[in-house]
Subunit: 234 residues, 2 copies
């Protein structure tokens, strides 16, 4: 937790009383004492410091001073074929921590349909992962996550609008071109399921203006591939 996130509704003037997970973190992980200053942020607002003004058995009271805008968002928009829910959870945290603000989870031929019904993918659970990502990255602005179960209408009808003005990449292990490095423009990156997009799916992306890229001869786990691609393209 690199920033303690607050909801604006929790503030009483400049004070906030933390209980539960956040209080435990301050007490047990950080071991903070009265007078100590912690990094805090208000969801959708600024970041700053919270001074510990009271430390009770079940709660921590902070005096909050907001002073900084959240960090610049990433230039990336991400399309991700829904991975296994446990993997999806970690990827959502990582993408949020990396500052990505637009994430599209999509169906594909090799996406197991049962994944869509996982309790890890309810709206409430997804929001929890996103908050964990903001806490990790030290940010306050939640990304938008949208689910699109049907591949074809998403790529054919939605992507042209969503990708407007962005350079476009579709990553899959058998692509001939290795992922380029750097660049400064906005980009949209589509990442396949663990066993890859089908040839048909890659062709639909290419028709929609996506460059087909890989990370070379080696295939990485989805989480590692996402982070490596963002590292190269960002």
């Amino acid at each position: 937790m690199n920033a303690i996130l607050l909801d604006a509704s929790e503030l009483r003037g400049s004070h906030v009383v933390l209980t539960g997970r956040r209080a435990e973190h301050v007490r047990d992980v950080l071991g903070s004492v009265e007078g100590e200053e912690l990094r805090v942020g208000v969801l959708g607002d600024r970041l700053g410091t919270g001074s510990v003004v009271a430390r009770e058995a079940e709660s921590i009271t902070l005096e909050v001073r907001l002073s900084r805008e959240p960090p610049e968002p990433s230039r990336a928009k991400i399309i991700l074929a829904l991975p296994r829910p446990k993997v999806a959870r970690r990827v959502l945290i990582d993408l949020t921590a990396a500052g990505v603000k637009e994430i599209h989870l999509i169906g594909a031929w090799k996406v197991d349909k049962s994944y869509w019904n996982s309790p890890l993918l309810t709206e409430e659970a997804v929001r929890e992962h996103l908050v964990l990502g903001l806490e990790q990255g030290g940010d306050t602005v939640l990304p938008n996550v949208t689910c699109h179960r049907l591949f074809k209408p998403f790529v054919e009808d939605r992507v042209p609008t969503l990708a407007r003005g962005a350079r476009r990449f579709v990553a899959h292990p058998s692509a001939d071109c290795v992922c380029p490095k750097g660049g400064t423009e906005p980009f949209m990156l589509a990442i396949g399921p663990e066993r890859g997009f089908t040839q048909y799916e890659v062709e639909r992306f290419v028709e929609a203006g996506f460059e087909s890229i890989s990370l070379g001869a080696r295939t990485l786990r989805v989480e590692a591939a996402v982070a490596t691609l963002l590292g190269r393209l960002s």
Copy 2:
């Protein structure tokens, strides 16, 4: 599993009988039938194909033809402050899949000493993670993993020899310079524990010729940071 790894001692002429985890993978995950060709590799040797010649209840027999050298190794040597064992496991898999051949796990001020005694870090368990990484990356050459519990003698006495001829980076969240992109030379990358290297530790690395770098304003999970840094520097 992007390649089924065999030990040379398992081959009977050009045939091998798989049981256990690998047979289950071929049967239940890949659903392979007789005549199908799978990617195989022999540890420390070449890659090629294995044709399914028999499929029994408990075993799969492959006829193996080796034809290709393993992919080029990564230019990176990695120094990693030992993370929590579950995280260490995934990072070892990812580094191996990415082709890193030299990994030094080290102690640091913010590394919990109990981590060194985890059952996930016995020699046998580490080898299992590395084999999973080779299977993921489609490679046959195991990396060398060395443990160095004491920070100071490692950085002062060992690093000058280990890093000879390599550009050197130490990654930690509070560094002023953002990680550069690209390059073609060998490099050594030191990555801190989840709560970072101490100022003292960073200074020792800088004295040993390391450039102090970060990934910008955001702090990522260790696994994501490792993959992102490798993506940028590779």
